[in-house]
C-alpha cells in the first residue's frame, strides 16, 4: 500500500469511495446515529478530493487511461486479444476532469447543506446513501470509456435522482414529479442501450475509442447516433425532451436539485463525447452542428418564456435551468457547425466551444447557489409561492446576498462568472450568425427581468407579519452556499485564468479526436 499504488488507483477509488460510503451510511446510521453526518461529509470530502487530485494529475501529465483488473503497466490491450481492449477502461481527459471538478464542488456544497436541511426529516441514512450513489453515478459517467459502463452509470444516476426527488412526498406532488422523471429517463436510457447494441453488432467492441477508430457512416450508425442524441438530450433536459425536468427539479429537496443539475450535465457530457470523440470526423459536421444549435436556441427560448409566468419559485428556477442549457448547446453547436474548417475554428470556433463548456461549470455553480438560497427560504418559511413571500431580506441577510450573487451571475452581469461565459458565446456566435447572437442576448435580458421580479418579491418590501419569527438559516447551510458563491465570484474575476487552466484542456480533448483514440489504441 504505498503512495504510488494509491495514486495509480485513483480512477478506481473515484467510484469505490462514494459507493462504499453510500452503502455504509445506513450501517452507520443504525449503530452510530450521531456520527452519520460526519460520515457522509467525510465521504464527500474524500471523493471530491480524489476528483481534484485526478484533475491535478491530468493537467500535469495528460490523459489518464486506467485499466480495471490489470496489473500496472500491462497496457490497455492484452497481447492475445487481437487488438481489442477486453477490460473495462476509464479514460479521464481534459473534458472528463472538468466535469469531475464541477461535480466535486457542487456535491460537497450540497451535502454540507443537506445535513442541516434534512435534520428534521426521517430516514436520513437512506437519503444520504442515495445522494452518494448519485455522486458515484455522475463520476462514473464522466470518466468511463466503455459504452455499456456509461449506460449502467446513467441508470444509477437516474434511479438515485428520481428516488431522491420523491423523498419528501409533499402531498404526492414529489412522487408525481419523480415518476415522470423516471419514466422519461428510462425510455431515454433504453434508446441509448439499443444504440449501443447497434454499435456493438457492427464493431464487436464497447470501447468508445475502438468504435471511433473504425467508424464508417452507414444508415445503422446514423440511426444509432440519432438514438444516442435523443436519449442523452432527454437526460440533459433539452427541449423538446424537457417535460420531466422542471417537474422533478421543482419538487426535489433543494440540495438535491443542485446536484441533479450536474447529473443532467453528465448527460450533456455524454452527448458531446459521442458527437465529438466517437463520431467526430465522420459526418459533415454542419448538419449535426445545426441540429445542436437549433436544440440550443429552442431550449433557451422556450425555457425562459415558460419561466416568466411561474408562481412556484423552484419551478421558475427549473425552467431557467432548461434555458441555460441552451447556451451550452449553442456554444458547442457553433463550434461543431464549423468543425471541418480550421481557419474558422481558430478565429471564433474555439471561443464558441470554450464559452459553451465554461457555461457548463458556471451554470452548475450559480444555479446550484440559487437553488440552495431558495431552499433556505423555503426551509424557514415553508412557502413555495412567490406571491406569498416578501420582505425576507430583513431577516435573512446572508441568504439574500447569496441569492443576489446567483441572480447577477445567471443574468450575465459583470464581474460574475455568467458574464464571462455568456460574453464568449455572444462574441463567437455573432461572428457565426448575428441573428442567433441576438436571440441569445434577448433571452439573457428576459432572464434578468424574471430574476429581478423574483428577487424583489422574495426579499424586498416591508417585513410581513407572518414571517416575524423567520431567522437566518444555520451556519452549515450558509457554508454550502458560500462555497458555491466563492467560485462564482472567483471564476468571474479571473475568467482568463479559469479558461486557460480548466476550459482549454476540455476544448482540446473534444476537438482532437485522434488524441482520444491514440490514448487507448496507441499501446499506451
Amino acid at each position: 500500500m504505498n503512495v504510488d499504488f494509491l495514486t495509480a488507483s485513483l480512477p478506481a477509488l473515484l467510484i469505490t469511495v462514494p459507493l462504499f460510503g453510500a452503502f455504509l451510511t445506513p450501517v452507520c446510521g443504525r449503530f452510530l446515529p450521531n456520527a452519520r453526518d460526519a460520515w457522509v461529509i467525510l465521504t464527500s470530502i474524500v471523493s471530491s478530493a480524489i476528483a481534484v487530485l485526478l484533475a491535478v494529475q491530468v493537467y500535469a501529465k495528460g490523459t489518464i487511461v486506467y485499466v480495471f483488473g490489470a496489473a500496472p503497466g500491462l497496457g490497455t490491450i492484452p497481447a492475445d486479444s487481437g487488438g481489442m481492449p477486453i477490460r473495462i477502461l476509464f479514460h479521464i481527459d481534459g473534458f472528463g476532469v472538468f466535469m469531475l471538478i464541477s461535480a466535486a464542488i457542487v456535491s460537497f456544497a450540497g451535502i454540507l447543506y443537506l445535513t442541516v436541511s434534512q435534520s428534521r426529516r426521517s430516514s436520513r441514512s437512506e437519503f444520504y446513501a442515495l445522494y452518494l450513489l448519485l455522486v458515484a453515478g455522475i463520476f462514473g459517467m464522466v470518466s468511463t470509456d466503455d459504452l455499456f459502463n456509461f449506460f449502467v452509470f446513467l441508470e444509477i444516476n437516474s434511479l438515485a435522482a428520481s428516488a431522491l426527488t420523491a423523498y419528501h412526498r409533499n402531498g404526492g406532488l414529489a412522487i408525481e414529479g419523480a415518476l415522470k422523471y423516471l419514466i422519461i429517463n428510462t425510455v431515454g436510457g433504453l434508446m441509448i442501450l439499443f444504440a449501443i447494441g447497434l454499435l456493438y453488432a457492427k464493431y464487436n467492441s464497447l470501447n468508445m475509442a475502438v468504435i471511433a477508430s473504425q467508424l464508417s457512416l452507414t444508415t445503422l450508425n446514423l440511426l444509432a447516433l440519432i438514438l444516442l442524441i435523443a436519449g442523452l438530450a432527454t437526460k440533459a433536459g433539452v427541449v423538446p425532451f424537457h417535460f420531466a425536468t422542471p417537474d422533478a427539479y421543482s419538487v426535489a429537496p433543494s440540495g438535491v436539485t443542485t446536484l441533479m443539475i450536474v447529473a443532467s450535465q453528465a448527460g450533456l457530457y455524454g452527448l458531446f463525447r459521442i458527437i465529438f470523440s466517437v463520431y467526430g470526423s465522420m459526418f459533415t459536421p454542419a448538419a449535426v452542428g445545426w441540429i445542436v444549435i437549433i436544440l440550443g436556441v429552442l431550449s433557451m427560448f422556450i425555457g425562459v418564456t415558460m419561466a416568466i409566468p411561474q408562481k412556484d419559485i423552484k419551478r421558475l428556477l427549473s425552467y431557467h435551468a432548461v434555458s441555460q442549457t441552451g447556451y451550452m448547446l449553442l456554444g458547442v453547436g457553433t463550434a461543431l457547425a464549423i468543425f471541418d474548417d480550421t481557419t474558422l475554428i481558430n478565429t471564433f470556433g474555439r471561443m464558441a466551444m470554450e464559452g459553451g463548456l465554461f457555461h457548463i461549470i458556471n451554470h452548475a455553480l450559480y444555479k446550484g447557489l440559487l437553488f440552495l438560497a431558495v431552499g433556505a427560504v423555503i426551509y424557514r418559511t415553508g412557502v413555495w409561492n412567490l406571491n406569498q413571500m416578501g420582505g425576507l431580506g430583513h431577516k435573512m441577510k446572508w441568504t439574500m446576498i447569496f441569492f443576489l450573487i446567483g441572480t447577477l451571475a445567471i443574468a450575465g452581469i459583470p464581474p460574475f462568472n455568467g458574464f464571462a461565459s455568456k460574453l464568449m458565446i455572444y462574441e463567437s456566435t455573432f461572428a457565426f450568425n448575428p441573428a442567433i447572437a441576438v436571440i441569445a442576448m434577448v433571452v439573457s435580458i428576459l432572464t434578468l427581468a424574471s430574476f429581478m421580479k423574483v428577487f424583489h418579491s422574495v426579499f424586498m418590501g416591508p417585513e410581513l407579519p407572518e414571517y416575524a419569527n423567520v431567522r437566518e438559516v444555520p451556519k452549515r447551510m450558509l457554508a454550502g452556499m458560500a462555497i458555491l458563491a466563492v467560485f462564482v465570484i472567483a471564476f468571474g474575476f479571473v475568467p482568463d485564468l479559469t479558461v486557460n487552466i480548466l476550459i482549454a484542456p476540455a476544448a482540446d480533448a473534444l476537438l482532437h479526436q485522434e488524441q482520444y483514440i491514440l490514448c487507448v489504441l496507441g499501446g499506451g
Binding site: 420523491a166 404526492g172 406532488l173 412522487i175 408525481e176 414529479g177 433504453l190 453488432a201
Partner: protein, 116 residues
C-alpha cells in the same frame, strides 16, 4: 429469413411498447409498455450475440481450430440490463402506488397537479 426473425420480433415489440407508452393513460399500462420495451432491447442484444454453431469460450472446451468460440459480452449486458430493469420497474410501481394513495387515481391525465 429465419435468422432475421428475432429482429422482426424486436421491431414489433418496440412498436407495441411505444404505442402503449404514448397512447395509454393508465400509469400501470404505461409501465407495462416500458417493461415490453426493455424486453425488446434485451432480445435485441441476445439476438446480436448469436453465432451459428458457436460455443461458450470455456478453456477446457476449446475446439482444436479455436474459431467457433463466441465472446459472451452481450449475454453479460443483457443480464445487467435485466437487473437494472427490475430495480427501475420496482421503483416506478412504488411511485404509482404512492400516487394512487394520495390522488386516488392512476390516470396520467389526473397527474397534472404540478402544472397548476
Amino acid at each position: 429469413m429465419i435468422a432475421n426473425l428475432p429482429f422482426v420480433a424486436v421491431a414489433l415489440l418496440i412498436g407495441i411498447a411505444f404505442a402503449m407508452i404514448l397512447l395509454k393513460y393508465n400509469m400501470i399500462k404505461m409501465i407495462m409498455g416500458l417493461g415490453i420495451l426493455e424486453g425488446a432491447v434485451n432480445l435485441f442484444l441476445v439476438a446480436l450475440g448469436y453465432r451459428e454453431s458457436g460455443i461458450a469460450p470455456i478453456f477446457t472446451n476449446s475446439p482444436a481450430n479455436g474459431s467457433a468460440m463466441v465472446m459472451p459480452t452481450v449475454q453479460a449486458l443483457t443480464l445487467t440490463n435485466i437487473v437494472i430493469g427490475v430495480a427501475t420497474m420496482a421503483l416506478m410501481l412504488v411511485f404509482v402506488m404512492l400516487v394512487y394513495k394520495k390522488y386516488g387515481t392512476v390516470d396520467a391525465n389526473e397527474m397534472r397537479r404540478l402544472r397548476e
